[in-house]
């Protein structure tokens, strides 16, 4: 999906240029920087991505024996899937759900990002805090929080009934709207972090020219800013659309009770058979891969013309903030409402539940029953300190490794003209589509057979996490690099800098916002990873997300809530600490 295919090639330093000249000749090209980098990055990515890819495809085409051995070739899973696709209901529901969530979360997260990064609105720091804190809340707990808030007997319906003088519940959360609403809230911090990075690296001259021509703030935003941010918007929408299309938790917990069925719920309910079969899940993900591959390919072709998206040039790029005047009260209250809805409400209800011996709707009666028993239970959870330590370590490790790998991959995609590099783009996007359980099993089996002794250690989890989160890293760094005009690197090469020092001193500092945004996102995301972790953890390597899952399956809401509050507090502390460091390096502009 890179663009930059303008007619002039990137003006690489003399040494690089001479070898590049020999690219067509063959062997010697192994030693030029982009090519050898391409080989290295492709090898690493291929090593991580291809074994699970193979497994997913194999799973979709073969029946398996109970032992997990491949049995017979079959198209059955695809036939089942096609039959399921022909049932209009689930397919349309899935489509509306995915489109709705992608649009709503982009509008939500995008508006907040614009206000926080490009205006002088008060309360701007609240945007970052809200995003970090809400994203640090365990996924299941967040959903449960909203179900309790919006449920038939929940406080929101209670007050609405009184206000509107109704007897029946006013809002029905178990609906398509409810699903889209909760899913969008879940994803809006991701949009926010990504678009905030993009908004921050804008070319002010284009906007100033627009303003000079008499355009209003809104016109400039629509005609200039938003168009320049097309790659970032595309990335965001693509990711959320896919993730929602294949998501399971919200459809299962929110949709199913209201008889709103999507494709994943059908697959899940059917997959309850024994021996376990993952063929349908495999076929579903293969089908999605084909769709995504086609999308990426066409996007890649569409954007190969010109340097339309360069916003960070040698002419100075620090965007100015829009002075909002009286409107700033409106934007400030917007931020406040966002914080309340995204964070305060669900967190308060979880906090409330965590202090109760059994769940009760918010009331004085409940207050009288307050107890810290759940916290005592949570703190006695087996190996809890090990789990917290492991989860934090895994988050740090996977976020750092993914970001380094994907910065290099994105640089190759954006800056070089190596043929077939869209394949690298595809390869880095595919892990997004692997069903977690199939990918977990693939990695489990791979390292049981390959004589690399990582089975039962944290390393196997790290490998799995890095593979899983490459797609997020690539979207962050790719849209960040697209904004960077190559003239900056050229200037560096002309001044005699090597490729390495140009990367270190020019590219990396300029894409710091994307880099750090991606880093924290992956850190927080990896803290929640469950579907692979449940298979890959060993008695010696507990992680928090699995502990939360155990509580979700077996404990009462209060115990789950108490554990969740503790974990959220830890993650938010890390995020705030990180934010204070990142601030110095420009995640947020002063």
């Amino acid at each position: 999906m890179a663009k930059q295919q303008s007619t002039e090639a990137l003006d690489l330093p003399a040494t690089v240029r001479t070898t590049r000249g020999r690219l067509a000749i063959g062997a010697a090209s192994l030693f030029d920087v982009p090519t050898s980098l391409m080989i290295a990055v492709s090898l690493i990515t291929g090593y991580l991505v291809l074994p699970p890819l193979y497994s997913v495809i194999q799973t979709s085409l073969f029946t398996t024996k109970l032992t997990g051995e491949i049995d017979q070739f079959t198209f059955r899973y695809y036939e089942d899937l096609i039959r399921e696709l022909q049932v209009v209901g689930p397919f349309l529901n899935t489509f509306y759900f995915a489109v709705g969530a992608a649009l709503l979360s982009t509008i939500l997260g995008g508006s907040i990002a614009w206000i926080v990064v490009r205006t002088d609105s008060p309360l701007r720091s609240l945007g970052y805090f809200t995003a970090f804190a809400s994203f640090g809340t365990p996924f299941i707990l967040y959903t449960i929080g909203w179900l309790l808030l919006l449920g038939k007997a929940g406080p929101i319906n209670y007050w609405l009934k009184i206000l509107l003088n109704q007897t029946a519940p006013v809002l029905n959360v178990y609906s398509l709207t409810g699903m889209i609403f909760i899913e969008s809230l879940l994803w809006s911090p991701f949009v926010f972090l990504m678009l905030a990075a993009a908004f921050r690296s804008m070319d002010p001259s284009l906007e100033e020219a627009s303003a000079a021509c008499g355009a209003r703030v809104w016109q400039t935003l629509r005609r200039i800013s938003l168009r320049l941010l097309l790659p970032a918007f595309f990335s965001v929408m693509l990711l959320i659309f896919i993730r929602t299309f294949e998501s399971f938790e919200i459809p299962a917990l929110v949709g199913l009770p209201g008889d709103i069925r999507v494709l994943t719920t059908s697959i899940y309910l059917d997959a309850q058979k024994l021996p376990p079969r993952y063929g349908s899940a495999g076929a579903f993900s293969v089908l999605l891969m084909v769709v995504v591959a086609a999308t990426l390919y066409f996007y890649f072709r569409l954007t190969r013309e010109g340097d339309r998206f360069h916003t960070v040039t040698g002419k100075g790029y620090r965007p100015t903030r829009v002075s909002l005047g009286r409107w700033r009260y409106l934007t400030a209250s917007g931020l406040l409402v966002y914080a309340v809805v995204l964070l305060v409400l669900p967190f308060l209800i979880i906090l409330w539940a965590s202090f109760l011996p059994f769940y009760m709707q918010p009331s004085l009666e409940g207050l009288a029953k307050f107890t810290t028993k759940n916290y005592v239970t949570a703190l006695h959870f087996p190996k809890i300190t090990d789990a917290i330590k492991n989860s934090v370590l895994l988050g740090l490790g996977s976020a750092s490794l993914v970001m380094v790998l994907t910065v290099l991959a994105s640089w190759l995609l954006v800056r070089t003209k190596i043929r077939g590099r869209w394949l690298l783009d595809l390869m880095t996007t595919l892990p997004l589509l692997f069903p977690g359980i199939v990918m977990g099993l693939a990695i489990l089996r791979f390292y049981l057979f390959v004589p690399i002794p990582v089975y039962g250690t944290l390393w196997i989890l790290l490998i799995a996490f890095v593979t899983r989160y490459i797609p997020y890293g690539i979207r962050y760094t790719h849209s960040g690099l697209l904004q960077l005009h190559k003239e900056l690197e050229e200037a560096s090469y002309v001044s005699g800098a090597s490729w390495f020092s140009s990367m270190r001193r020019i590219v990396l500092p300029l894409i710091t916002p994307s880099f750090l945004g991606g880093w924290i996102f992956i850190f927080l995301l990896s803290a929640k990873e469950l579907s692979m972790s449940v298979l890959l953890v060993s008695p010696q390597t507990p992680v928090v997300s699995v502990a939360i899952f155990e509580l979700w399956e077996n404990a009462q809401i209060g115990e789950l809530a108490a554990f969740g509050v503790i974990w959220t507090a830890i993650l938010v502390t890390v995020a705030i600490f990180y934010y204070m460091i990142a601030r110095r390096y420009g995640v947020q502009q002063n």
Partner: protein, 354 residues
Amino acid sequence: MRKNLIAATLLLLSLTPLANAATVEEIALMNRADRQKILVEGAKKEGKVSWYTTLIVDQVVRPVKEAFEKEYPFIQMEYFRGNSERLVQKMLAEYQAKRYDVDMIDGTVSPTMVRRAGYLQRFYSPMLAEYPADLKDPQGFWGTTNLYFFATGYNTRMVKPTEVPKTYEDLLNPRWKGQMMWSTSRGSGAPIFVGTILNSMGMEAGKAYLQKLKAQNIAKSTASNRQVLDLTIAGEYPLALQMFNHHAFISKSAGAPVDWQPHEPVTATIHTVALAKNSPHPHAAMLLLDFVMSERGQKAYQQANYLPSHPKVPAKQADLKPGTRFKRAYYINPDAQYDKGNEWVDYFNSVFLK
């Protein structure tokens, strides 16, 4: 030359213990007067035992571990907890790669899955004689440790005592339309409810009943039984079908507005324990199997508020087991659940999913 010598020595060394030791099968099926002595001696050398479990660590695994290690201080117990499917996937993948970590595995359906894959070892335990026929495998592949009984959980503030549905027929009362929820879980949710109905009423009457029940619009959730019951306590749905009766009891004891009502015959599932085919610590594993089925071991389950399967060990709250509050239970044999379960899931999906 020297390399070969070292290789030969290593080979010899690695073969020696094998030559003397009995096989897992021999140890598992051993039935002689000095069995206990041999097991203890062997276990002392092994020093460890590993248990793959679906039980809750905090509630029951830890107390059982403590009780077992008190009995045999020279054995250290390691456990790994997961739900049935993940646990079995893990064990099967390990066996495929010839990595034998697990000694004992438990669960309502996991031992059966492992057995079908061919990775269980039949065993003899003197404790088995103390159990009735439907609580042990005739071929000796599994014994049981505890039982689960299912009932309708209801919110006592929303359902008056006179309204409480007593029988399966009562669930068809129009009063409950849109007021019930159940879990879709294969092992503990709606599918085994379907199984009980089809088995106890007979195919035709059972199907007719389920069609009528369908019209009641029962809300479905993939959440666990525990979470569905908590939604009932929260007031979202007055009735929760197919709940573990001990969950309702535990919440009620904490003061929650909830109680349980059995419908006869009560659906019951049994928690089985089994020995892994290539158990790396077979002596210790047999001591552990003996222990969890013994009256002393069963007390640890009892104290954890689980329902011990040993006929002589009552539940801590006695009426949770059959006898007083309900008489008839339909025990779902794990092998039957494995074989018939797919049909129940299919039937549930085709009738109750819109």
